[in-house]
Amino acid sequence: MTFNLAILTDNWRDLLDGMVLTVLIWAGGTVMGLAIGLMVAVVQLLTNRWIAAPLNVYVAVMRGTPFLIQLFIIYYGGPFFGLDLTPMVAGVAGLALYGGAYFSEIFRAGFVSVPPGQIEAARMMGISRLAIVRHVQLPQMLVIILPALANMTVLLSKETAVLSVITVNELTSVVQSIGSTTFAFAETLLFLALVYWAFLEIVTAAARRLEKRVGRFMLRTQN
């Protein structure tokens, strides 16, 4: 087995493009997923169970079925509903919908973690329910759920590799096409693994630092 690193340097442009696209997909999917998750959790919190029921089904279905099948349904099943999505749009939407279900569960746990006495007190003062969420519950719970949110964000970054199956031109798919034209699978795939590994270690370390900072802030407010 020979190890030819020139394959990587020869194709650096494509690899860089793939990397940038992977990060963009991850960022887009995460931001939209957080928005979906927060909306779902707030609606579940503030409305009656007839409105919450379909949302519960959404969360259960997204968490109970493989991400790959969800992508297939959105991308190949989309035209049935008149949704002719490009692989990229289908992929990011899939990532957001998948992440949103998990994020909503994290937010839901966060809402429960704020002592009910505070909400009662705020209500007595005539603050609207939505304002209580915005000014009383969210600021406190975000600190508590930060590790869980960070963890899910890291998990989502790994799911971006699956988008290669529906032909999104992200890093995994770039690497596979270089591999299949040059037969240099070992070099390219190990490079791919190292890139993801390094990226995840960096994101995880950044999350730890953020948690520590926020933790310090928590200690200060308690004193």
Binding site: V61, F67, E159, L189
Partner: protein
């Protein structure tokens, strides 16, 4: 038109393929549990080498997407002269991946065991292996059962990825039917429903066992 007929027609085939999904995912969880236990024990041991190996293993297999791991095992094992069937390579990769997560889950369980218990076992003359299999693992499993069941359902979902490296299971068969019948929506919805049912069964089985454990502890 939503074609329910195609779902009814292909359901027997899909169910048959789902047996493979269950077999592959449960086998990899079983093997992964053994790997995870060993890695967890190594990670908590006093040996620096053991801790290093465990940390590297957990970090790599949790830090690289499963799809990438599968591609590596599929394309690179033959390069180093290992010509194993793709299903074996895929199950091995799934097992290594879930083993890293299980090692992390069990860690919490191992740390929850009162140290006096281990000391007592050592005094009675149990060997290190006996303490691991008779005391530490059973207790750690009880402490962490919900997380272990959750990991199992994650693996059922993750097993859909082995379709990409050419192993025939539920997702792969669904792909085959979808491309030959041009009814992707119906077929993938049916496949998704089967995955959902499999995971629902595993989750409720987990809750059942958990309840039994709790009843036993209460007694």
């Amino acid at each position: 038109m939503f074609n329910t007929e195609i779902i009814v027609k292909s359901l027997p085939m899909l169910l048959q393929a789902s047996v493979w999904t269950v077999v592959y995912s449960l086998t990899s969880v079983a093997i992964g549990f053994c790997i995870g236990t060993l890695m967890c024990a190594a990670g908590l041991s006093s040996s620096r080498l053991g801790r290093g190996v465990a940390a590297f293993y957990v970090s790599f297999f949790r830090g690289v997407p499963l799809l990438v791991q599968l591609l590596i095992s599929y394309y690179c094992l033959p390069l180093i002269g290992l010509n194993v069937p793709s299903s074996v390579a895929a199950v091995g990769t799934l097992a290594l991946c879930t083993g890293a997560y299980i090692a992390e889950i069990l860690r919490g369980g191992f740390l929850g065991i009162p140290p006096g218990l281990i000391e007592a076992a050592r005094m009675v003359g149990l060997s290190r292996a006996q303490i691991l299999t008779r005391i530490e693992v059973p207790m750690a499993v009880r402490f962490t059962l919900p997380a272990l069941v959750n990991e199992t359902t994650m693996m059922v979902k993750a097993s859909s990825l082995i379709s990409v490296v050419g192993v025939l299971e539920l997702t792969r068969l669904a792909q085959n039917i979808a491309t030959s019948t041009f009814q992707p929506l119906e077929i993938y919805l049916a496949a998704g429903a089967i995955y959902f049912v499999i995971n629902a069964v595993i989750s409720s089985a987990g809750t059942l066992v958990e309840g039994r454990f709790k009843a036993e502890t209460a007694r």
